[in-house]
Symmetry: C3
Subunit: 425 residues, 3 copies
Amino acid sequence: MSSDEQSQHIANLISSYKQGFSLPGEFYSDELLYRAEMQRIWRKGWLFAGHSCEIPAPGDYFTLNVDGDSLIILRDDDKRINAFWNVCRHRGTELCDQGSGHLGRIVCPYHQWTYGRDGSLLSCRGMQEDLDKGDLGLLFAQVRTTAGLIFVSLAEEPLDFQQADELIETMARPQGLEQAKVAKAVEYEVAANWKLVWENNRECYHCNVNHPQYIKANFDHYNTDDTSPRVQAQIDAAVARSEEKCAAAGLAISHRESGMTVFPNAQRNGWFSANRTPLVEGFVSESMDGRQVAPLMGDYTDPGVGTLRMRTVPNLWNHSSCDHAVSTRLLPAGPKRTRVRVTWLVDAAAVEGRDYQLEDIMPFWQLTSEQDWALCERAQRGVSSSRYVPGPLSTYKEYNVAGFVQWYLNQMTSDYRSEQRETAD
Amino acid sequence: MSSDEQSQHIANLISSYKQGFSLPGEFYSDELLYRAEMQRIWRKGWLFAGHSCEIPAPGDYFTLNVDGDSLIILRDDDKRINAFWNVCRHRGTELCDQGSGHLGRIVCPYHQWTYGRDGSLLSCRGMQEDLDKGDLGLLFAQVRTTAGLIFVSLAEEPLDFQQADELIETMARPQGLEQAKVAKAVEYEVAANWKLVWENNRECYHCNVNHPQYIKANFDHYNTDDTSPRVQAQIDAAVARSEEKCAAAGLAISHRESGMTVFPNAQRNGWFSANRTPLVEGFVSESMDGRQVAPLMGDYTDPGVGTLRMRTVPNLWNHSSCDHAVSTRLLPAGPKRTRVRVTWLVDAAAVEGRDYQLEDIMPFWQLTSEQDWALCERAQRGVSSSRYVPGPLSTYKEYNVAGFVQWYLNQMTSDYRSEQRETAD
Amino acid sequence: MSSDEQSQHIANLISSYKQGFSLPGEFYSDELLYRAEMQRIWRKGWLFAGHSCEIPAPGDYFTLNVDGDSLIILRDDDKRINAFWNVCRHRGTELCDQGSGHLGRIVCPYHQWTYGRDGSLLSCRGMQEDLDKGDLGLLFAQVRTTAGLIFVSLAEEPLDFQQADELIETMARPQGLEQAKVAKAVEYEVAANWKLVWENNRECYHCNVNHPQYIKANFDHYNTDDTSPRVQAQIDAAVARSEEKCAAAGLAISHRESGMTVFPNAQRNGWFSANRTPLVEGFVSESMDGRQVAPLMGDYTDPGVGTLRMRTVPNLWNHSSCDHAVSTRLLPAGPKRTRVRVTWLVDAAAVEGRDYQLEDIMPFWQLTSEQDWALCERAQRGVSSSRYVPGPLSTYKEYNVAGFVQWYLNQMTSDYRSEQRETAD
């Protein structure tokens, strides 16, 4: 297929979408569309990479592997966080082959070209004398940190980050993620397209039967069609409880209705959102029994702060309770495969065994996550059928699935249009 | 490659075939040709799915996975057998993820859309009120049952089934497959193209050395070049023995010559055949020592009925003795891979351990099958060589290989021609 | 992509190369380029297959699998070595499914077509009488043997072999590889493009840190930038030692400078080279401590003969000490995968346990090889990055990497040009 035919193929797919319905099957399996998604979404937007508290000291690093590329996220001697392409400037060897660690200088194991923590080439014995070392430093990727969350972009000219920074910084500052530590991280390979994982995440229509733990703590599964006056009264009470407790700390519940926050909001084309949401009476933490399971984090002085929730497309959602935080990071691994990392964080000073137990902080989100992965894989098998036809979305319960699809199509077409324009020039 | 180039590529391959010879190597490895085979043969014809006795009661089902699609074969409350696409009409989730089972209603595990055993959408809580549930029942695939054999078609307008029904019903009725039960099923993944598996099945030229068990019971490996008067006398005697015993029951040996029945018969373009064949003196069953190894099946009153043999292209052969029946079902799994299920059936009333032993009924066809899979995989490796050149087929012993190839090419070209015509319109 | 577009794609890749730098990333991953390499290099040139001493007697054979093809390398009744395509002339079945063995006649296991050791079809019972058996012998591939090394070519009109034969025969005759035996062979699957394996082999810039064993025995890691007068004096002394000892035997050290022999020599377009190189004082063999670890091989009467080194692109290097020889054979297995076989040989009369121990003869090259495979795999991961950019090659230490790249590009373009010419005719 020529590159024109490829663009046309993708344009045809996109225009086959019928509003109010689920996406046609090709969206979850087509190789060319997947490549276009990498270009138009994953290599263009901001990707959540990890937490700044994972690399507290100069020389600490972790690597991030996306779509065949690898980045080294490294804290330098000035405590700034940099992102370098994990590639030697000599013959291209991978510099770091561990997921994380600490390093003094970055020494390529092949021929010992040696780089500083700032990426500059310090030495390359054996090369001709006239080599310009200044041209041979490591290549930088774009990186931003906000409230302890590290985002990278593979694009040379990344999207605006400032608006996201302002919102997240404001909302997440009290959570103290910069003074946290990773209690545990679990990696999953989910046999489903990354959009199926998001569509699952963007509705709680499936919660009643599938997430017995989650719905004990949260109100998300109630929507305008089934929020009885009794339920609304419970929500109002929960909001009131939290507001009272948090007033002094300047915290405020920002999500006061039943149902999920509208996100992504295709109208505003925003790729980020954050809000504070009340928990069901009796729950001060997203733990199995609702009790506090670790020391309070950040600026919190009382456990009754509801949950802070953040999400950024295409690859992060985070639920933070008063005592622990859980970040879920997605990475695409082919049209039918998504790698997911779920990370549990607690206050940096908390000691496992004394201040918290993994068996207390993990099950709530581990169960909920694994229940979701099973549903996503099942959805993938179904939409791969030649006779799958897109079905109607619930206006009550799947407005965010519709919103996600619209955001997705916006990304895919705006980019397509600008490509077309360039070609036409 | 454009779709025109693809059609041309396939047409070129097909016209490269030289009659009387084996197929060129690309026929066993080419991806585009494989896709065309799916369209022109596997998604057009009747596929053997399983036995009606596997789902005796309303709500019993099994699933069939073909070329990325999944069907639910389900007996409904009126004891009719239906085939549904295994896909929820909401967001496409796979409904049944087990190979078989029993169900009251079909409830999608994702959002609990609920279907009746007749496929109708009964409930979908949480959806908008104006939804037309009548439009959202499960999609039906074509299904036919004859003499206890279930066939499905993925085509919306399937081939005629009536002629096959009449022949199979007449020939197989006495075998009582509807009152049978599965004693054992074994699944194989054979690393060979599905046509190599058929070409192996369609000749007994390879039997002398490779099938020591099979040739003790059968006459197939004798052909016009080596059927001595002594062998013909043995066949005649075997025919006579059976006829005498079966006369009362209205059974008749229908294959009286040495060599294999002509099938597929490219002239008649038939995709099915059935006949009754005598066994060697001393064998009343295709068992290791020829003795009866399970209670008589169906209408049989005497073991001396030879074997009933049925085969339908592209995916079934069945050898049924007086006391047990063996069905072999093929499913393509890529240009170089075929999934095979071999199923042993006995009378429904027979009790394992008391009336039959698996070690008595299984080895004859298990050994013969596994000997064949090894040959098929070896053939696949050979025809994948760049220097494989099609060789001559034996006119004595491989007439059915030639017939299979001709049937295959007929399917591939008739469809191609009608495609061309449609394009020309 | 049409075949014109494919040729253009490859031509574009090739012209993107910038002299003095490493190859662009697509050279290590592109599927079309890989296919072109198979045609223009691997299916055109001479491939090292194995050692004549592996098949000493008539009927001894081994098989060689290259790019989906399989050859039988067989010694016939006249003790000649033949190479046959491992494919039956009937329906294409693979004849030999073992890596090596002994056979009287070649009998196809499928239908027992039977071939002589000379490839002629001797019998095919069951076929029509008018078949011309003379047309149905096994197909021959080109094969040459020089000084005990067997080379095959998949081309119908192979490259000239005579010049290689003369050089290798002269240089390797005293090593006695024809009167050797295989002490051990180890197979590796290296997750790296075959060119990365060669580029690794063609420089010792990486030796200092990565090959502590190798550099104790050899001078290769010294180059014009770091060969001090002291090192040159050591080399001169080593040359003198060997010359004195070998004079009587007519052996001579042919590589007298520091650094590696120039190979491939793109100017001369030679695909082969051989030389004798001194070892460091204290080493008479490439063993861990430098001591002799097996009986002298071939015509050697004194251990102080340095090492005989031979290499042929695209797939052999051999280091032979006085007492043992090590051959490394590469076979491509996809754009990102290379199969490697390392074979240790000793004198045919040597007895394991009495005359040599595997633990003495193997570690030197086993460690060095495995250190290299790890580097190659790491290089593959790096050059697969979208931001890998070719870096400068050291003029001191990587002249042979540059030479290899130039040889490679010559093969790829000369062939391309002749293709173009044919198309133009």
